[in-house]
Amino acid sequence: MQLDARIPAGPIEAKWDRHKAELKLVNPANKRKYTILMVGTGLAGGSAAASLAELGYNVEVFCFQDSARRAHSIAAQGGINAAKNYQNDGDSVRRLFHDTVKGGDFRAREANVYRLAQVSASIIDQCVAQGVPFAREYGGLLSNRSFGGAQVSRTFYARGQTGQQLLLGCYQALARQVAAGRARVHPRTEMLDLVVVDGRARGIVTRDLVSGAIRSWAGDAVVLATGGYSNVFFLSTNAKGCNVTAIWRAYKRGAGLANPCFTQIHPTSIPQAGDYQSKLTLMSESLRNDGRVWVPARPGDTRKPADIPEGERDYFLERMYPAYGNLCPRDIASRAAKRVCDEDRGVGPGGRGVYLDFRDAIQRLGRAVIEERYGNLFQMYERITGEEPYATPMRIYPAPHYTMGGLWVDYNLMSTIPGLYVIGEANFSDHGANRLGASALMQGLADGYFILPYTIGDYLAGAGPSRIPADHAAFQGAQAEVAGRQRRLLAINGRRSVDSFHIELGKLMWNKCGMTRSAASLKECLERIPQLRAQFWEDLRVLGTGDTLNQSLEKAGRVADFLEFAELLALDALQREESCGGHFREEHQTPEGEARRDDQNHCHVSVWEHQGPDRPPQMHEEPLQFEHVPLATRSYK
């Protein structure tokens, strides 16, 4: 496997401009002769599909939801970062770049991150022009808030529904292209395989989730914008449908998969209430702007929060990280919360929770201000827990939320398979080992609006229109494999439901490969996952047929892939003998319990290559160089 990141030469500030000027172009009249297959309609996929169709390409768009407006980007609450410096507080492209590289614990590519910071400002302009109703000041100008891991206010927001409003912006842009006849959306359609002919991505195989029909789509390029794999933990803040299938199928067809062990555990989710629970609900990180995080100072203290006097509370983030306090980055806040709970100072049922208290903010600013800032989040919390956060502090606990790992891509966002592009959360590129708050929306839209539309043209211009039809032998073969797999899942006829396997896998991964990991716990994972997978293929029961809407069958296919992918995740976590960002190995910590990175041996991207069903995957390394943000121990103290 060749890992050429194709980072342009020259000073970092000029790389992207120079690269754009050197990329080959497709003649406007020829663009319609190229078909691009876009899988996924979140912020990355939706914005890319709309932008490519505007350019004149022929775009076929696929999503498993019933409409392109529902992808999980919609659930992002807090905001989107951009280096606009509207607040005059010293922000700049350089500072956003610096914060993101440092926040990612020095495991991202400098050149990619710099470009991300550069295009961030254009994203805001684009979204405003589309009619995204960002929060505004009385003077009519855009409002900003601060967010975890940053000391400037660079986050733009639309109440607590920023992801929704940005997604509706690109959904509407896509709708306009559908009306213009340049894009077609295929909802309730799931990609189940990638077709590679002569080393190039030439199409995909999909299943129509309503009719069960399996069919092939030929194209000149395939773009995966299929999100992250947090649902490998079963309980996560992701939507129920989020899955690893698209990128896993691509991996099995030869695409390198990078850093799967970099998973983000978000500190502010509503704690799990019972075994029946189907998902965890996030409370926006923006709440940490005004809420103070604390637990009782004394272990085993079961008094009501109101009965615990000020002197007996431990505001542990403010105590441990005075410079950033409640706004320290996610990985650090999550581990601190786990630590105080492990000390038997956790609150709520099961002792797995910490308080997020708005008492002081309400006293300082008044209830009306807090209501305007967070009203919908407070409502959501009350709906789920039955408790009123204006009166009693919220309880929060960390939960799987985002995955920094994903398919390896070069500077052009192309995977190791020519013609296969990967954008948004599905790729590995910009967040290193930890993502900062309000940066996921920024990256998804940067990839979709401002990077892919330039870089994909270079590939298409070089390759020329594909002449491989959808009835080519490679398509027929892939289609037969997909159909065979559906039949196999239906034919097992065992005793256990799909969910029971998913829950078992999730518990294993959370306990042994979650917020902290050790060689012993990871070896246990590597032993138990294959056993569970074998049980799955022997004892699974999926009722109904394959030629109708069958939600159990859909889930079964996704869980089957999670059961394979989980092993690679654990393997990657085992080989990375260091703690960095969201990856915390118990063996590698300082005496104070902080992460200890190993830049000598692990300052690289780990890229896994599939070697066939019976051989272990092979790992390759892409070394990382830091010329602009000197390698340093991350400190938020």
Partner: protein, 248 residues
């Protein structure tokens, strides 16, 4: 808690449907409505009965995918709450609960409780956007937007496109959905150039899809999980009238 469920089962769009009786046992009051259904489905599978199909995804009240009529009310009795955010603590032990799909001519049933809402996408495609290509935008602060206009636009834009408004309306009208998008864009300066064309095209598509007309029942507003105001319907009617007069 235990419940008796009456659930609409329908094998496909052209098959007749019927209510089926199921028992939900040992339900925790802290469960969401969909978690209760997960448990029932788990039970049904054990008995060899195909699980109940229902739409859902984010389970945090924002994606707009979940869509159940619960005891005759779209998304259930709890105000400003989607089905996925409705919790069982709002029901009484031993209650009978009736669960049906959205019922509207423009939303044909796909299977059981799943309906086809693609008509909404086609209404947006007709004009629910601002025509601006990627890359052609000016600086975001070049055009100040008065705070109250931005706030009103956001009130309307909060619509999640779930379709509860249609399900609740005796006429199967989608006026609240369409009006929310018309108002969102009409309140912003960026939406002005296409204002007339937009409202005419969206209303025309809405009629073509077979949605009914608004006769001021306001059932839509009552069930809307995002509390979109019926006032936007009045605004849309005004915009439509103005646009129609100006067009001729």
């Amino acid at each position: 808690m235990d419940f008796t469920l009456h659930v609409w089962r329908q094998a496909g769009p052209d098959q007749p449907g019927h209510m089926e009786l199921y028992q939900a046992r040992d339900i925790s009051p802290d469960m969401s409505f969909l978690e209760m259904l997960d448990l029932v489905n788990e039970d049904l599978e054990k008995q060899g009965i195909e699980p109940i199909a229902f739409d859902h995804d984010c389970r945090e009240g924002i994606c707009g995918m979940c869509s159940l009529v619960i005891n005759g009310v779209a998304h259930g009795q709890q105000p400003a709450t989607t089905t996925c955010q409705l919790h069982m603590r709002h029901f009484r032990d031993k209650d009978s609960i009736y669960i049906e799909p959205w019922r509207a001519a423009a939303f044909p049933v796909v299977k059981d409780l799943v309906v086809d809402r693609s008509a909404f996408d086609r209404v947006i495609e007709a004009g629910g956007f601002i025509s601006v290509n990627t890359g052609s935008a000016q600086d975001g602060n070049c055009l100040p937007v008065p705070k109250d206009a931005a706030d009103t636009a956001m009130d309307a834009a909060a619509c999640i496109g779930c379709g509860a408004c249609v399900a609740a309306c005796p006429n199967g009208s989608s006026m609240l959905f369409v009006a929310a998008k018309v108002a969102h864009l009409a309140h912003l300066p960026q939406g002005q150039p296409e204002k007339r064309r937009r409202v005419l095209a969206m209303v025309e598509q809405m009629d073509r899809e077979g949605f009914g007309h608004c006769t001021n029942h306001y059932e839509c507003e009552a069930v809307c999980p995002k509390e979109i105001s019926r006032q936007f319907i009045a605004e849309m009617n005004r915009e439509y009238l103005k646009a129609g007069l100006q067009a001729h």
